[in-house]
C-alpha cells in the first residue's frame, strides 16, 4: 500500500520538476531540461499506474480513500486541509491526465525544440500538471479550487508564452479573466455550501446533501443555488456558453499546450467538477436541466461556428467547445459516467487531433490556414493516418472510441428521467444535429488539409515529416482513440459497459437521488429503441461525411451555394456570431468608460478632491475676510472696541437675567 499512503507524491513530482526547471533550467542544456520535465511526469504516471493497481485491492468501504496531510487554513469553525482522495472517478481522471500529459510532454520536446524560453515552457507545463493533479485528487472544494485557479494560471502563462505577440498575451489575459468570472460564481457556491453544510470536505458535503430532500423541478432551493453557482464556475473553466469566448483565442498558445490544456485536461475540469458534485446536482433537477440545456446548446452553437473557421487550430478549438457541451449534456441528464467516458475518449482523440495539427503546422513551418494547405496526405503519411483515425473517432464512426461514448450520451439523453420526454427528445435531436455537423467540419478539415492540390508555395515550403519524438505519441494516441471505446461497449451491443459499472459507486448517491424510472419508461426505452437511435446516429454521421466530401473534396456547389442567405450565414459564422464584439460593446467598454470618466475624473478628482481643496480654499477665503478687519486705521479699531463694549453690556443687561 505504498502509493496509497504517499498520494502526495503524484502531484509533488511535477511540482519538483517545475521548480527545478524554473529556478535552474535557465542555465541548463535542453537534454537536462527534457530529462527533468519528462522524467517527473513520467514518474508520476508510473506512480498512478501503481496507485491504480493498489486501488483495486481496496474494499468498497475504504473508498473514497482519503489522506489528510496538513491543515492549510484554520480559522474559527472553518477548516481546509491539504487532503487528497482517491476513488473511481479520480482514478480515471488520473490516468487520463498523467497518461496524456506524459505523451504530450514527450511530443513537446520535439515540437518546442527550437523555441526560446524552453525551460520556461516545461516548468510551466509541469506546474500545470501539479495543479491539474491537485484538482482531481483534492478531497475538499477549497483544495479543488487551488487546482482550479492554478490550472487557470498555467493556461494564462502558456497561452501568453510567446509574450512578444500582443495577441498572445491578450488571449492569456482574456482566458484568466473570463475564468475569474466563472470562479466568482464558484467561490459563492463554496460560501453557500459552507453556510449550509459547515464544511467544504467532500465527505461532509455529500453525505449532507444526500440526506436532504430532492428539490422539485423548477424550485430554487439551497442545493439548486449551490449547483448553479458551481456551474457558473464550470462554464468558465469548460468553455460553455456564455463564457466559452476565451477558448478559441487560447489557440495563440503553442500547439502542445492546446492539446494538453485546452483539449485533453484542463477544460474538462468543469465536467469533472460537476460529476464530482453529482450528489448535489442530482438533488437539484432545476440545475440539472440548466446544465443539460447549456451543454447541448453550446455543443450545437460551437459546432456551427466550427463549420466556417479556416484556422486549423480554431476549428479544433470550437470542436472542443462543442464536445465539452456533449459532456455537460451528459451530466445534465444524469449520465455522469457517460460524461466521464466521453471525457476520456475525447481526451484521446482531441489530443491526437491537436498534436497532429501541430505536426502539420510544424511541417508547413507554422502555417495554420487551411486555405493554404492541401495534398499533404502523401507528404506526411504518419500524420495523415493518425489524424484520420482521430477524425473518424470524433465523428462517431462505428467501433471507434468516440462512437461508443457519444452514443452513450445520446441514448442517455433520450432516456433521461430528469426532464420531460419532450425535453429529452428536443435535446436528443439537437445533439444528433451536432453529431452531423461534427462530421461535416472535421472531414472538411481533413479534406482541405490532406487532399486535393497543395495550395501553398512548394518552392519555399518543403514539407517534412515530424521527428520521432512527435510521432510516437501520435501513434499511441491513435491506437487509443481506436480501441479506447471498448471499455464502454453498451449492453445493447452485448458489451458489459465496464466503465459505467466501474464508475457506478462514485455516482451511486446521485443515482439513488435520480427520479425512479417507471416501468413504462423502462419499457419504452428498450434496447431495441437504443439500437434504432444508434443507427440514426451512424446515419447522421455518414450524411455529414458525404456532405463534406461533396462540398470540399469534389467541390460541387450545392443549390444553396451563392444565395444571399448563404453569404450572410457564412459571414455570420466566420465572425463567430459577433459574440466578442457584443461583449466588448456591452461589458468592456461601459466599464472602462465608467471607471475612467465617471469614477476617476468625475467622482474622485472633481467631487471628492474638489471638496477637499474647496475646503482649503474656503479657509483661505475666511482668512481673507477676517484680515479685512485689520484695516490699519485706529478709528476702526476703536470702533471694534466700542462694538465689543456695547455687545458685552447689552448681553449682560438685556439677555442675562
Amino acid at each position: 500500500m505504498f502509493m496509497l499512503d504517499y498520494l502526495w507524491m503524484i502531484p509533488a513530482l511535477p511540482l519538483v520538476g517545475a521548480a527545478v526547471n524554473g529556478l535552474l533550467g535557465g542555465r541548463w542544456p535542453k537534454r537536462a531540461i527534457d530529462a527533468v520535465a519528462v522524467g517527473t511526469t513520467g514518474l508520476s504516471f508510473v506512480a498512478v499506474l501503481e496507485l491504480v493497481h493498489e486501488f483495486f485491492s481496496l474494499t468498497p468501504q475504504q473508498i473514497p480513500w482519503v489522506k489528510s496531510y496538513f491543515p492549510w487554513i484554520l480559522a474559527g469553525n472553518f477548516r481546509a486541509d491539504f487532503a487528497l482522495q482517491v476513488d473511481q472517478l479520480t482514478v480515471v481522471m488520473l490516468l487520463v491526465v498523467t497518461g496524456v500529459g506524459w505523451l504530450i510532454h514527450i511530443y513537446s520536446t520535439g515540437y518546442m525544440a527550437d523555441e526560446g524560453g524552453y525551460y520556461r515552457f516545461f516548468s510551466y507545463l509541469n506546474l500545470f500538471m501539479f495543479f491539474m493533479l491537485t484538482l482531481v485528487m483534492a478531497a475538499n472544494y477549497a483544495l479543488l479550487f487551488v487546482g482550479w485557479e492554478g490550472v487557470g494560471l498555467c493556461s494564462y502563462l502558456l497561452i501568453g508564452f510567446f509574450f512578444l505577440k500582443k495577441s498572445a498575451s491578450d488571449a492569456g489575459k482574456k482566458a484568466f479573466i473570463v475564468n475569474r468570472i466563472g470562479d466568482f460564481g464558484f467561490m459563492l457556491g463554496m460560501f453557500l455550501m459552507f453556510k449550509t453544510f459547515g464544511s467544504l470536505d467532500y465527505a461532509t458535503v455529500f453525505s449532507g446533501a444526500a440526506r436532504m430532500p430532492v428539490e422539485p423541478l423548477g424550485a430554487a432551493g439551497v442545493l439548486t443555488a449551490i449547483a448553479l453557482l458551481l456551474f457558473v464556475g464550470a462554464t468558465g473553466k469548460s468553455a460553455q456558453l456564455p463564457l466559452y469566448v476565451w477558448l478559441p483565442d487560447a489557440m495563440e498558445g503553442p500547439t502542445p499546450v492546446s492539446a494538453l490544456i485546452h483539449a485533453a485536461t484542463m477544460v474538462t475540469a468543469g465536467v469533472y467538477m460537476v460529476a464530482r458534485s453529482s450528489v448535489i446536482y442530482a438533488h437539484a433537477p432545476t440545475a440539472m436541466t440548466v446544465v443539460a440545456v447549456i451543454g447541448c446548446v453550446t455543443a450545437f452553437f460551437a459546432a456551427t461556428i466550427g463549420l466556417a473557421q479556416n484556422d486549423i487550430k480554431r476549428v479544433l478549438a470550437y470542436s472542443t467547445v462543442s464536445q465539452l457541451g456533449y459532456m455537460m449534456l451528459a451530466c445534465g441528464v444524469g449520465a455522469f459516467s457517460a460524461g466521464i467516458f466521453h471525457l476520456m475518449t475525447h481526451s484521446f482523440f482531441k489530443a491526437l487531433l491537436f498534436l497532429a495539427a501541430g505536426s502539420v503546422i510544424h511541417a508547413l513551418h507554422g502555417e495554420q490556414d487551411l486555405r493554404r494547405m492541401g495534398g499533404l496526405r502523401t507528404k506526411i503519411p504518419w500524420t495523415y493516418w493518425t489524424m484520420l483515425m482521430a477524425t473518424l473517432a470524433i465523428s462517431g464512426a462505428p467501433l471507434f472510441s468516440g462512437f461508443f461514448s457519444k452514443d452513450a450520451i445520446l441514448w442517455k439523453t433520450a432516456s433521461s428521467t430528469f426532464s420531460t420526454p419532450q425535453g429529452n427528445q428536443l435535446l436528443w435531436a439537437l445533439a444528433l444535429a451536432t453529431a452531423v455537423l461534427t462530421a461535416i467540419y472535421m472531414f472538411r478539415l481533413l479534406f482541405l488539409a490532406f487532399f486535393g492540390a497543395p495550395r501553398y508555395d512548394e518552392h519555399r515550403v518543403h514539407v517534412h515529416e515530424a521527428p520521432r519524438s512527435m510521432l510516437v505519441p501520435l501513434v499511441i494516441l491513435a491506437a487509443l482513440s481506436m480501441v479506447g471505446g471498448f471499455v464502454g461497449v453498451p449492453e445493447s451491443l452485448g458489451g458489459g459497459d465496464r466503465i459505467e459499472r466501474f464508475l457506478a459507486p462514485a455516482f451511486a448517491a446521485a443515482e439513488s437521488a435520480a427520479p425512479e424510472a417507471t416501468t413504462e419508461h423502462a419499457a419504452k426505452y428498450s434496447h431495441a429503441l437504443e439500437l434504432v437511435l444508434m443507427g440514426g446516429a451512424i446515419f447522421g454521421a455518414a450524411v455529414g461525411v458525404l456532405v463534406a466530401w461533396r462540398r470540399f473534396l469534389v467541390g460541387k456547389p450545392s443549390r444553396f451555394e451563392g444565395t444571399a442567405l448563404q453569404k450572410n450565414l457564412s459571414t455570420l459564422l466566420q465572425s463567430k456570431y459577433y459574440v466578442d464584439e457584443l461583449y466588448d460593446a456591452l461589458v468592456v467598454r461601459p466599464i472602462q468608460w465608467l471607471s475612467n470618466t465617471v469614477f476617476w475624473h468625475a467622482v474622485d478628482e472633481r467631487a471628492i478632491d474638489g471638496t477637499v481643496n474647496g475646503l482649503a480654499g474656503a479657509a483661505r477665503e475666511v482668512g481673507e475676510r477676517a484680515r479685512l478687519a485689520q484695516s490699519g486705521n485706529t478709528r476702526s479699531y476703536a470702533t471694534w472696541v466700542v462694538l465689543g463694549a456695547v455687545a458685552v453690556t447689552s448681553i449682560l443687561i438685556w439677555l442675562v437675567k
Binding site: A619, A626, R627, T649
Partner: protein
C-alpha cells in the same frame, strides 16, 4: 504705621525688580558704549534675582498690605511665568539691541519695571492695585514698543497700543467705579461678599463687570478686542513682542480669573456666555486670519490670538462648572499659560534672531532652506510650531488635552468642536512654515548671523521646557491645581 516686614517679603520679587531697574538707570549712563553689556547682565541678574525672590515671597502666604495684595499658589505660579519670561527676553534682547544699535540700559530697566507691574497684577486682591500694576506694565510696554525710534512701524505700533490701551483702561476704570458704587468696596473678597444686593446694584454690577471684562479682554487680546494685537506685535521690536505675548497676557489672565472667580464667582451665569462667545470668536478669527499671513511675525501674532481663545475656552469651562468646581478649568488655563509662554517666547526669539538687522527677513520665503543653514535653529522653531499646533511630545499637546478635558467635563461640546476644527486650521500655517524651512531650497543671498549665546540659551531653555512639560507635567500640574484651588 510702617507695614510689617512680611509684607515686604510678599512684595519681594517686585521690589527686587524695581531695585535692579533703578540700579541700571543709575549705572547705565556712566557706562562707555562698548561696556553696555554690563547693564544687560544687571538686567538678567535682576530678573533672576527676582525669580529667586519668589521663593522668599512663597514663604509668606496670605494677604498683605492691608489686604491689597495676596500671596497664594496662584500668584506664585504666575510670578514664575512672568519673571521667567522677563529673564528670557532680557537674555535674548542683548543680541537684538546690539544689531539694531539702540540704547540698551533703559530697555532692561523698562522690562524690569513692566515685569514688576505684571507681578502686582498677578497678586492684586484689590481692583485699584491691579489697575496701577496694569498701568505700570502698560506704560512700560508702550515705551518698549516704540523702542526702534528710527522706524515708523515701531512708532505706529506704539501709538496704536497706547491710544487703544488707554482707551481700554478707561473702560476698566469705569468698571471699577461701577463695582465700587454697587458694593462700596474694590476688594475682590468684599465684592464677592456684598454682591447681589438691591436690584439697582445688580445693574451696576453688570455694567461694572462688563467694563472690567472689556479692559481685561483687551489685554488678553480676545475678539473683538484682539484687533490691536497684530499691528502692535508686528511693529514692536521682536523681543518686546515676545514679552508682550507672554507676560502681560499671563498677568491680565490673572486679574481676569481673580475678578471672575473670586469677585463674581457665584454669579457664574452672568458672564459665562460672554466668555463663551468671545472664546469661539477669538479662535475662529485668530486661526483663519493667520492662514493668509505671509509675514511670520504677524502670523505668530494671529496665532497668539488663537491661543488666547483656547485659554478662554478653559475659563468658560471653569465658569460652566462653577457651581460645583472650576479648579480643573483654571488649572488648565494656568498650565496652558506656562506652556504657551515657553513656545511663544521661543518662537518670537528665534524669529527675532532670523529677522536680522532691521527685521528685514520676516517674510515666509526668507525662511527657505533654514534647515540646511541652521539645522538646530530650524529644529527648535519646528518644535515650537508643533507645540503651538498641539502635537504630542510637546507641552502644547498636554495643554490642549487639559483644556479639552475641562471643557468636556463642563459639557461645552460645541466650544470643543470649534476648538478642534480651528486647531486643524492651525495646521495650515504652522506646517507651511515648517515646509518652507525644510522642503524649500534656500535662495543663495540668504545668510543668517550665527546664533548669539543669549538666543541659544533661550532656545535651549524653552525647547527643554516644552519637552519637560510634556514628559513630566506632574509637578507643574499639581502646582497649577493648587493655584486654582487658591482662587476659591
Amino acid at each position: 504705621m510702617f507695614p510689617p516686614i512680611e509684607d515686604i517679603y510678599r512684595l519681594a520679587p517686585e521690589l527686587v525688580a524695581c531695585l535692579f531697574g533703578m540700579l541700571i538707570m543709575v549705572v547705565d549712563p556712566f557706562l562707555p558704549r562698548e561696556r553696555k553689556d554690563i547693564s544687560a547682565n544687571l538686567g538678567l541678574l535682576g530678573a533672576l534675582a527676582s525669580m529667586a525672590a519668589i521663593v522668599l515671597m512663597a514663604r509668606h502666604p496670605g494677604a498683605g498690605m492691608y489686604g491689597l495684595l495676596v500671596v497664594d499658589k496662584f500668584s506664585i505660579f504666575l510670578h514664575m511665568i512672568i519673571f521667567g519670561a522677563a529673564a528670557l527676553v532680557i537674555l535674548a534682547a542683548d543680541e537684538y539691541l546690539k544689531q539694531e544699535g539702540i540704547l540698551q540700559g533703559e530697555f532692561y530697566a523698562l522690562v524690569l519695571f513692566a515685569t514688576c507691574g505684571m507681578g502686582i497684577m498677578a497678586g492684586a486682591a484689590e481692583l485699584m492695585t491691579a489697575f496701577v500694576g496694569l498701568e505700570i506694565s502698560s506704560i512700560s510696554s508702550y515705551i518698549l514698543a516704540c523702542y526702534r525710534r528710527a522706524v515708523l512701524k515701531s512708532h505706529e505700533s506704539a501709538m496704536k497700543y497706547f491710544l487703544l490701551g488707554s482707551f481700554a483702561t478707561a473702560f476698566f476704570l469705569y468698571g471699577v467705579a461701577m463695582v465700587y458704587g454697587a458694593t462700596g468696596t474694590t476688594f475682590l473678597a468684599g465684592i464677592a461678599a456684598s454682591a447681589g444686593g438691591a436690584a439697582g446694584n445688580q445693574v451696576l454690577m453688570k455694567l461694572g463687570f462688563a467694563m472690567l471684562f472689556v479692559g481685561m479682554a483687551f489685554k488678553i487680546a480676545t475678539a473683538p478686542f484682539q484687533i490691536w494685537t497684530p499691528d502692535v506685535y508686528e511693529g514692536a521690536p521682536t523681543p518686546v513682542t515676545a514679552l508682550l505675548a507672554s507676560g502681560p497676557k499671563a498677568a491680565a489672565f490673572a486679574v481676569l480669573l481673580r475678578i471672575v472667580f473670586t469677585a463674581f464667582g457665584d454669579a457664574g451665569g452672568t458672564w459665562f456666555w460672554i466668555v463663551w462667545g468671545s472664546a469661539a470668536l477669538t479662535m475662529i478669527v485668530g486661526n483663519f486670519a493667520a492662514v493668509v499671513q505671509s509675514n511670520v511675525k504677524r502670523m505668530l501674532a494671529y496665532s497668539s490670538i488663537a491661543h488666547a481663545g483656547y485659554m478662554l475656552v478653559a475659563v468658560a469651562a471653569a465658569g460652566a462648572a462653577a457651581e460645583t468646581d472650576s479648579a480643573a478649568g483654571i488649572a488648565a488655563v494656568l498650565f496652558y499659560l506656562a506652556a504657551y509662554a515657553l513656545m511663544k517666547l521661543g518662537a518670537f526669539i528665534v524669529v527675532s534672531h532670523l529677522g536680522g538687522r532691521g527685521e528685514q527677513r520676516l517674510a515666509l520665503d526668507d525662511f527657505a532652506g533654514l534647515s540646511t543653514r541652521q539645522p538646530v535653529t530650524a529644529a527648535c522653531l519646528m518644535l515650537y510650531l508643533l507645540s503651538l499646533l498641539g502635537l504630542p511630545l510637546t507641552a502644547g499637546f498636554l495643554g490642549k488635552l487639559y483644556i479639552f478635558k475641562a471643557a468636556l467635563d463642563a459639557r461645552l461640546i460645541w466650544l470643543v468642536v470649534i476648538m478642534a476644527i480651528t486647531s486643524v486650521v492651525g495646521a495650515f500655517y504652522y506646517l507651511r512654515v515648517i515646509w518652507v524651512m525644510y522642503f524649500r531650497e534656500a535662495h543663495e543671498e540668504l545668510t543668517t548671523a550665527p546664533v548669539a549665546p543669549g538666543v541659544a540659551a533661550v532656545m535651549v531653555v524653552t525647547a527643554a521646557g516644552i519637552l519637560v512639560l510634556f514628559f513630566f507635567p506632574g509637578a507643574v500640574m499639581n502646582f497649577a491645581m493648587q493655584g486654582a484651588m487658591a482662587l476659591r
